[in-house]
Symmetry: C2
Subunit: 453 residues, 2 copies
Amino acid sequence: MTLKTEDISLDLIRRAIKENQKDFLLEIVNELYPADIAEFMDDLTLDEAKYLYTLLDKEEAADVLMELEEDVRERFLESFSTQEIAREFIDNLDSDDAADLIAELPDERREEVLLHIEDRQQAQNIADLLVYPSNSAGGLMAKEFIKVNVNWYVVTCVREMRKQAEEVEEVYHVYVVNDDDVLVGLLSLKSLLIASPRAKVSELYIRDVVSIKAKQKGEEVASIMNKYDLVVLPVVDELGRLIGRITIDDVVDFIKEEAEKDYQMMSGMTQNIESGDKIWEITQGRLFWLVVALFGGIVGSRVISNYEDQISVYPEMAFFMPLIAAMGGNVGVQSSALIVKGLANNTITTGSILPKLWKEVSVGIINGLVCSGILLFYSFFFAPSLALSMTVSVALMTVILFASIFGTFVPLALDKLKIDPALATGPFITTSNDIVGLFIYFMIGRMMYGIFM
Amino acid sequence: MTLKTEDISLDLIRRAIKENQKDFLLEIVNELYPADIAEFMDDLTLDEAKYLYTLLDKEEAADVLMELEEDVRERFLESFSTQEIAREFIDNLDSDDAADLIAELPDERREEVLLHIEDRQQAQNIADLLVYPSNSAGGLMAKEFIKVNVNWYVVTCVREMRKQAEEVEEVYHVYVVNDDDVLVGLLSLKSLLIASPRAKVSELYIRDVVSIKAKQKGEEVASIMNKYDLVVLPVVDELGRLIGRITIDDVVDFIKEEAEKDYQMMSGMTQNIESGDKIWEITQGRLFWLVVALFGGIVGSRVISNYEDQISVYPEMAFFMPLIAAMGGNVGVQSSALIVKGLANNTITTGSILPKLWKEVSVGIINGLVCSGILLFYSFFFAPSLALSMTVSVALMTVILFASIFGTFVPLALDKLKIDPALATGPFITTSNDIVGLFIYFMIGRMMYGIFM
């Protein structure tokens, strides 16, 4: 009887661990990929996870470790000595993963682990990588790559590559450098494979190669790899010398994180929380913006209280307050979301703000006319007075226009001030629009009731 | 003097086209990558773009075409005959891009183009691909790949690969099939490169290979490639026979589109609009949800009008209406965004809804207590009556609890009904919360004013 992946469940693993069925568990982990094993380990207790972990061979163990959720990995590593971490994990990881792992450790353990690494080349690579901020090309790159000299013959290449390839798990391209170690092009494995051994690299290599400087930002890495459909991107230093390469899988994670950050910001959460997190973590991530919105609401209540007399004479004024506030919020979020998305995708160049504002005003006028028209029609028949019906439709038009302009201007201004423009898509923009919207509403109300009553 | 990429601007290109400087333009396009050329062409007039296009060689021209924005490409293709489209573009594209291109054409031109394709193998491949929905693994795959038989020797492999490799632009893996064409594993190019020519494939190949069935969804492709950090994913039919492969660049686009769709939905837009689009397009994408919210606001105004007597006696009731409505909206969006994100990342399994609701209730209680506490404190000192201060704080607590539950329940329910749960993060949830929130507020108000006045 052979074991099938579909049949493996958390319960099955738990029971096997409890009953100490080593052979059966070995069969299970052989059937699974590191990412699957990690997924199960995320849900096991620390002791269960450690038991399962001891059954893995070292290469696989290191891969599983990197696939664990960050907080699980942290707890897991706490139960190992710095020497164990160095020998069991770091030596079996690619330099970029190893550097990420070490960066996650508490300061005092970081240096100890570095000292315990047996492969001094690996230790050197990691130390090199730790210099770069995690959000830069240098922070995303790995030091494992294959390079050949542009003056070599194919036969020399293949011999040299045999040596270098042992360290490199997956080879997609071979980089071609000149005598100064400057990146000059790349060789596809395909061309090497079908070339004659006596051909020269200089006859085969592709001169067009997109590269990135180590200090450039993660966003630039993502946009370049996405634009040119790249799977690997070579990283060079200021002199153009090849120092590393970034693979697309790390960038996919980066792209996902960026998109999630914007999503979170719009939904009014301050941290990357997930529905599976602890109640206290979720509360923390959500409370900040709720309190900000609460204070905004209190300011709004003071605005309204200035018009108490008007409300007590014309209580119907209160009917449409939430409508005006909500429409202002909706329009503001639409406008700012368009700008934030445009800035993220680089389709908005930070040129003059005026043409964008003008376009938003045009859209605002059309949408405002449609919505106020509907509201005028409705209120004409159903609202208690002509004054109210004029107030709500004129106020709605004004608020939609204001919210369009405000929602366009704020993220552009934040971006110029080097503040994340996505800030302007969440409770901040709806709360401000609420306050201003109510103010506009009562101003116009006072005017209209003066005219029509 | 050599031309540098940084020096090339739209104006420079425009002027060169106007002055018919072919040699200079040739130098420019040689310096640029297809994605860059496409970016410039997006901004040129149709005539300018066609002029530039004629200077490209056929391979590059096809690549540039695929990088154009969809609406630009559409207009561009309209000016070519179906025969030109087949000979100039389709024959020079990978099968997946070619199929995407043909799928974009109007129905009546589609068949004509297929008939004009000279490479019958390519026509067959495209027809095969057009069968699959664009959002399935089959719709994302290309038919170009290299496969070898598990019983071959390395020397046979290399010979066969030379033949196959001409068609395939980038080779990352070589797939290993058995005599029935069933996928049994893969060979890395690295292992082929360093193996002896007399070794057998069966000694070298990796048996662990993740694959996907053609009918599986795009979301599954993305989550599998992301989970296992894959660059290429082989696609098999129901019998396990290798029929195609998906590369990560197509999936990155897919992941980005999915994230943008959710973002749009939350910001209350119905189509994929960008700040660069025409005013009319932007208006259309935004108007639907504004009108829905408007009708929600009208319903809200009717709810409030039921309490007109109360407002005319106690006009201060109106002060906190927008606060209550806004807080309900904010909490609702937070709750539903967490669920939508969890569903998208597969961290929420569609099991029982109760534990999730219970967790949300706990978070709601904590956040509700903090916010109502602040509001009670404020209103105790500043609100005109104890009745109002009790009303607003009790109502806020109730609304936050309600919005937490509602915001959790709705996306889960939509998901079970196979409706996109992201629907529950935008104006829909804020508008519903507004209406219910106001209702709760006045109910509690009537009760409190009965007790304290």
